[in-house]
Symmetry: C2
Subunit: 298 residues, 2 copies
């Protein structure tokens, strides 16, 4: 693998996830914070109009738009598709300043804590995630590689990337502790990439705990799309904790418990994420995997 | 005081405060839940377009619009002012079905727990709040009477009313435990009003703890309106807890603490409420008062 030369730190891919927005503002006002001798580090506000409106998106979710065919910027496109064209033309593989690595910052109303999202399980990405986990053991590592989701995220334009989720934080709010943890994590990623360029490979990590996507659960809904149940109180904020067959999962408004019907233990994440109500996701289910990085990769 | 004959339960005054929205849907589908022999109980969705859009409001905050001069419904008004006219014409003092009491349901990202908002401190309202506090001792009672705010809320059209705030809950989400607590509180209010009509006065309560508004704190902001600090980690979710002069209150993005500069202990509420960023409120400050209901009212 070649050097990681150019890194893009993205905030505000979703306009109401304020921690990334304010982190990027801080970096732009204090560029020394993200300057590293062997890296070129850039920043980007993903969705400026949504940031100004303090909303997730204007016309459609920017972070689901990048699988669309390439188009030139045009005022006939909706706002997010104009952003897709502009971002690709600037930072994409054929753009003016193609980037090698994207750090994409997100916030969630679920109890994510400090969470890494991996879109690919190559040795480089796994080693980076394992390294960050040794620095901050409370980090959880989530893999979306089995989700069936297309490469439709903003960060998918870079050959290597990582998503950061911090939570629980209500959209449209800041949270000081999560702000500081998110910032420290970005510094750790930059330091790792810097070291990688100097050493052509940093200290090899041996193991990693990975929460691998295996499915999702939607709320039951009526014909109008209104949900008919809520996250069960026993499960609220219990991200990454085991959910066993028969455990309470949802609660109807009448107070009836809906149990988890699967046939094996799973570890839910994104429990009660606000933005996922409209996507039909009450939670994502994962399997907890202990990966030995010497072994063949999954 | 005359009877409380007609009660209006309002949900969705703010369209993304889902607990009140879904509570009202449940009541409309199961009217027996709110039927009481000596009351006429109605329900209202305050801001239907904002509910459909899952946002606080469309053009302006409906719950700040009711001090405007009376106007006939007109398509020249913005959406919320059309709602003001329609709601007044239906439920206001000169409306078709004037209501005696309004229960207005809200949710907040602050750690409100189960909170009553009193707009007036008459003996009837105080006795009701004290009664509810004896039923559910975790209830907090907040008085906005000193806030200088005009009678601009939806519920101000009724001679008697109470606001309910539950939290912390992210806007656009449900929260099962708070949903159930909110619902139980509405039943308790209806039961109290029912009993009041039968007894012409229920058992007199002796005392009440009141959190009386005494001021507010805004975030420091730059010329663009961007905040320059966050709620300090020591204060996040610490609603109703004492804040003493010199205690940490805010934290800048550089990590500098901004201390509380007042000269007496206060009890902050609405700490880090998402919808208050644009209103210039990082938190409201209150004084904790023990009120003896036999004594002259404040």
């Amino acid at each position: 693998m070649s050097e990681i030369k150019r890194v893009l730190i993205v905030g505000g891919t979703h306009g109401n996830e304020l921690i990334g927005v304010y982190t990027n503002r801080r970096f732009e006002q204090n560029p020394d914070l993200i300057r590293r001798p062997h890296l070129e580090v850039l920043t980007l506000f993903g969705n400026p109009q949504a940031i100004a409106a303090n909303t997730r998106y204007i016309d459609e979710d920017l972070n689901r738009c990048f699988a669309a065919p390439i188009a030139e910027p045009s005022t006939h496109l909706n706002y997010e598709m104009q952003r897709v064209a502009a971002i690709r033309n600037e930072f994409g593989p054929s753009g003016r300043t193609p980037v090698d690595f994207i750090i994409d910052q997100h916030g969630t109303t679920s109890n994510a804590g400090l969470m890494l999202i991996l879109d690919q399980l190559d040795a480089f990405t796994l080693n980076l995630a394992a390294y960050l986990s040794t620095l901050q053991p409370e980090i959880k590592v989530y893999s979306s590689t089995n989700s069936g989701r297309k490469q439709d995220s903003l960060r998918s334009i870079a050959p290597y990337r990582i998503g950061i989720e911090v939570g629980p934080v209500a959209h449209g709010t800041l949270h000081a502790e999560l702000f500081q943890n998110n910032q420290a994590l970005i510094y750790a990623i930059l330091d790792y990439l810097e070291q990688y360029n100097c050493d052509n490979g940093t200290v090899h990590q041996s193991a990693l705990t990975l929460y691998q996507y295996v499915g999702k659960v939607d709320y039951p809904k009526d014909e109008t799309g209104a949900v008919l149940a809520m996250i069960h109180p026993h499960l609220q904020f219990k991200d990454y904790q085991p959910l066993n067959p028969g455990d309470p999962m949802l609660l109807t408004f009448d107070g009836e418990t809906i149990a988890y019907q699967g046939d094996s233990t799973v570890y839910p994440v994104f429990i009660n994420e606000a933005a996922y109500y409209e996507k039909g996701i009450a939670m994502c289910l994962t399997q907890k995997q202990h990966i030995h990085l010497d072994a063949p990769l999954p």
